[in-house]
C-alpha cells in the first residue's frame, strides 16, 4: 500500500529584494534610527547617536519610533528613509 500525502507548507518563494549598497564613509551623512520604542531603546539610541557623530563624523541623526512595536514601520517612516544615507533598526527587547 502506498499513501500519497500532500505538502502542507508554503511552497512559494518570496520576492527577492536588492541589498542597498554600503556607503564609502559616514562622514557628513544623515543616519536614521527606526526604534520599536520599547523600554531601554531611548538610552541605547542616545549613546549610538553620540558615538556615530564622534567616531564616524555623522552630521545628522534622525530618530523615529514605530507607532506599534509589533508591526512593520509606519508608511511615513518608510517614505522618509529614502532621504537618509543609512538606517539603523532592529529586533529585541
Amino acid at each position: 500500500m502506498v499513501l500519497r500525502v500532500l505538502d502542507p507548507s508554503n511552497e512559494t518563494t518570496p520576492p527577492l529584494g536588492v541589498l542597498a549598497p554600503r556607503v564609502a564613509s559616514l562622514a557628513g551623512a544623515t543616519v536614521g534610527f527606526i526604534s520599536n520604542g520599547k523600554e531601554g531603546t531611548h538610552g541605547f539610541f542616545a549613546h549610538l547617536d553620540r558615538m556615530l557623530r564622534e567616531e564616524f563624523g555623522v552630521a545628522e541623526v534622525i530618530r523615529r519610533t514605530k507607532s506599534n512595536y509589533s508591526a512593520p514601520a509606519d508608511a511615513h517612516i518608510v517614505d522618509e528613509l529614502r532621504r537618509w544615507q543609512a538606517v539603523v533598526t532592529g529586533i529585541g527587547d
Binding site: L16, G90, G92
Partner: protein
Amino acid sequence: MAVMTTRFVSAAELMARVLGFADYKFAIIPHPISSASGDALRDAAAVAIDQVRTLLVHPTVTA
C-alpha cells in the same frame, strides 16, 4: 543596519531567509535592553558601533 539582541538572532536569521536574504548580516548586541542600566546601554551601543564598521561602511581601497 539591523541590530538584534542575542535572544532574537534566530528570529532575524529566519526572517532574512523568508524574505529572500538568507545571507543578510546584522549586528548583535547583549539581551535584554528593557531592564539594562545606563552603563549597560552605553556598552551595548559600543558593541553596535564596532559592527557599523563592517556592516554599514564599505570604504573603497585605492591601489
